[in-house]
């Protein structure tokens, strides 16, 4: 056992704790230190009264000052909107093709367009704009209705095959199951596979399919299968398929046809927002 040193006169009290014979003096605190401590307590109480603090069952106390982080965010958003008013007006009024030549406008439109895209477009076209089956990939160089800024702007503004906008781009492929005989459909599918560079399922039907094609399909898709952007008819001779280029998918497409719809965005977005997202989509890597 360690020898405890004798207590000397003038020594303060101890805390009463003893570890291996070592005791702790119960020295008084410095006065300024205590005052700081009391002030923090007063501050803490005042803070919980003035600001939201105490969690309740479904919310928290709101505080006397009425502060809320959401309110602060709303204020910040409103401030940003006011600050962007000028450039948004400029964006909405300038010639579409001129936006790319104006560095400031272009950079603003790209960033703003990315935000619009992430909010409204990712649901169908994907967050990376690569699309899904039936929803076009916006990164490649294939455009059903044209890939220059003006065509992209028109498509986004009015949408495709929707009934809400009279200016919507519209075309409809007939369901050839009601028009052609089953063997004619089989042969034309083999022809289209050959046309696109794929290996047809039955090469012997290609020449028969070519005749069926010329009679029924070339009016929209062109004699060489290159498509027609005026009516959104896909190019059948390239490597890109919206719904898939295998035999079964093509059989389904020809028999029942396809009918992809895109909503008109003029009803939800401002002209500046539509132009911004047009610029964004145009610069994704496939813009013409």
């Amino acid at each position: 056992m360690t020898k405890v040193p004798p207590k000397q006169e003038g020594d303060p009290n101890t805390t009463g704790h003893s570890w291996d014979g070592i005791e702790e003096f119960d020295n008084p605190m410095p006065r300024w230190w205590l005052w700081c401590f009391y002030l923090t307590i007063i501050w803490g109480v005042g803070y919980t009264i003035a600001y939201p603090a105490w969690p309740l069952v479904s919310s928290a106390t709101s505080g006397l000052l009425g502060y809320s982080t959401r309110g602060e965010v709303a204020e910040e958003i409103a401030a940003v909107e006011v600050a962007n008013e000028g450039i948004n007006m400029r964006l909405a009024s300038v010639e579409l093709t001129e936006i790319a030549n104006d560095a400031e406008l272009n950079s603003y439109a790209t960033s703003a367009g990315a935000a619009v895209y992430r909010t409204w477009c990712t649901q169908c076209h994907g967050s990376g704009a690569a699309g899904f089956v039936g929803y076009p990939n916006l990164l490649d160089d294939d455009w059903l209705w044209g890939g220059d800024i003006e065509n992209i702007h028109a498509t986004i503004s009015h949408g495709i095959r929707n009934e809400d906008d009279d200016d919507a781009r519209y075309s409809e492929m007939p369901a050839f199951g009601d028009i052609l005989e089953p063997e004619e459909i089989t042969s034309v599918v083999n022809y289209v596979m050959d046309l696109s560079g794929a290996t047809p399922l039955d090469a012997s039907q290609v020449s028969a399919g070519a005749e069926v094609y010329l009679d029924n399909c070339s009016a929209c898709h062109g004699e060489e299968g290159l498509g027609d952007r005026d009516q959104g008819a896909p190019n059948l001779a390239d490597a890109i398929w919206l719904y898939g280029g295998d035999y079964d998918t093509l059989m389904e497409t020809v028999t029942y046809s396809r009918y992809g719809v895109m909503p008109p965005w003029t009803q939800r977005l401002s002209e500046a927002e539509i132009r911004a997202v047009s610029v964004y989509v145009h610069q994704l890597g496939g813009g013409e």
């Binding site: 119960d26 008084p28 605190m29 890597g285």
Partner: protein, 478 residues
């Protein structure tokens, strides 16, 4: 529990300390340290450094807005912050080294709290006189014209020093001459004024009023130092075997030999933290060694050798009590512990220097776009997208050529330009989107992953840098 009957007070009022003026080698050294450290602090932001056009010409500048840290010829980007981390590690190891060898020398000489407190006490002494005069003034309860004048003068000078201190700090973060004008014309940023205000307040309060209270109650270092020191550490201590029994002491009996200590209280009167070093080693002691100067002075006057209070190590006590001289200083300083600290400190320093000299003037990072991993083009070719960030650390604009090496079939295309090169401004970075295209049915297009290497060439001097990445083909995703 204690056997004392009166309950202790909850708080203790601060006992004001009025250190007496002292002179001697340690005091002189302390003056030198004060002048050098304050000189560095106030002067450094004003040193100019020509970095060429468009770059700041301030030798030391922490440009937070542009994320650049300029130290003379060294230019640190934010992603190279490990240099600063390394310097902080060196500072920490240096502190360990000095503490294990010499105790709290940092506290006694170089700590800002000590330096500014010393400066404030100097001002106090000039205005109100030395210890006895200041004590008289303190005890004079009536605030007459003289006391008021002295106090106001002192506080004004303190405030001036405090403003200058806070003011000097912000000059490290912006162009000093411009900021000085802006500060006086009211055009500087709010953060500059706020910083100056906070540092002015803390300097004024800490240096003028809190003083040793900061060292004793607020600073963690006194608590840590115990782990850094051992019995071989040289610290300021009193030689009781030589000094006791002291004169004026009731322990001195007639005819008994007396110690060298004449109980003149000189060592207590000069102490800036208000302790009596003769009570032994204490947490409060900042080892400023002013008591050594004071005691040596007295020893000289009474014709005794110096060193009653001295830098000494606990391990020498037995030797000295037996009448032998202490071990030489170098034996205390060169110990495994200090040698290890020195080696670590030097190791970090060398590593930093090596890193500094081998870092390139151009840097490149390649981030493949993974959403989607590849895009099929209408002709059947497969395209991958990469975001390449080029960093040009040269003081002039440079043209960089980007090339891809790997499968000969792939070709590269830079977004926004038909050329294979881009220009990057002086001391700037540039994000370039790059497409790599593999023709239909080629190995990279059909495969899973193909290794690629991006080469960046500085067309001015031919410097090259590369980054490895890979190309994702249709592979298993087909």
């Amino acid at each position: 529990m204690s056997d004392q009957t009166t309950p202790p007070s909850l708080y203790a009022a601060r006992e004001p300390i009025f250190p007496r003026r002292v002179s001697g080698p340690f005091r002189n050294f302390k003056w030198i340290v004060l002048i050098v450290t304050l000189g560095i602090y106030y002067v450094v932001p004003w040193i100019r450094w020509d970095r060429g056009p468009d770059l700041p010409n301030q030798a030391v500048l922490l440009d937070l807005a542009n994320r650049r840290f300029y130290f003379f010829w060294i230019d640190i980007w934010s992603h190279e912050f490990y240099f600063v981390a390394g310097l902080l590690i060196m500072a920490g190891l240096g502190l360990f080294l000095f503490t294990s060898a010499l105790g709290r020398v940092w506290c006694g000489y170089a700590c800002p709290q000590t330096v500014w407190t010393d400066l404030f006490i100097l001002v106090e002494r000039w205005i109100e006189g030395d210890r006895n005069a200041r004590l008289r003034l303190h005890r004079q309860e009536k605030m007459d014209a003289r006391k008021l004048r002295l106090r106001l003068t002192k506080w004004t000078v303190w405030l001036f020093i405090a403003v200058a201190t806070g003011g000097a700090w912000v000059f490290y973060f912006a162009d000093a001459p411009t900021l000085l004008v802006d500060l006086f014309t009211g055009q500087a940023a709010a953060v500059a004024y706020i910083t100056v205000a906070i540092l002015t307040a803390t300097t004024f309060v800490f240096g003028g009023f809190a003083r040793e209270q900061i060292c004793i109650y607020a600073c963690p270092w006194p608590r840590i130092q115990g782990a850094m020191m051992d019995e071989d550490t040289l610290t300021v201590a009193y030689r009781p075997w030589r000094g006791e029994p002291r004169k004026h002491s009731e322990e001195v009996k007639a005819g008994e030999p007396m110690g060298d200590c004449i109980d003149c209280m000189a060592c207590v009167n000069v102490c800036p933290v208000g302790i009596d070093i003769r009570d032994g080693q204490q947490m409060e002691c900042i080892t400023c060694a002013l008591c050594i100067d004071a005691c040596d002075d007295v020893m000289a006057k009474i014709g005794k050798p110096r060193g009653l209070i001295d830098y000494l190590a606990l391990s020498d006590e037995k030797l000295e009590r037996a009448g032998n001289p202490p071990r030489p200083v170098w034996k205390h300083i060169f110990r495994p512990r200090t040698l290890i600290y020195t080696a670590l400190w030097g190791g970090v320093g060398v590593a930093l220097l090596v890193a500094l000299f081998i870092r390139a003037d151009i840097e490149v990072t390649v981030a493949p776009v993974r959403n989607p991993t590849f895009v099929t083009m209408s002709d059947g070719s497969i395209r991958n997208t990469y975001d390449i960030r080029l960093r040009n650390k040269n003081n002039e604009e440079r043209l960089f050529r980007i090339a891809v090496q790997g499968d000969p079939a792939v070709r590269i295309q830079l977004e926004g330009t038909p050329y294979g090169s881009v220009s990057v401004g002086a001391d700037a970075s540039h994000l370039q989107r790059v497409y790599v295209i593999a023709p239909p049915n080629s190995a990279p297009a059909e495969g899973d992953h193909t290794d690629l290497r991006f080469w960046i060439e500085d067309l001015t001097n031919g410097d090259r840098a590369y980054k490895d990445s890979n190309f994702t083909g249709k592979g298993t995703n087909q």
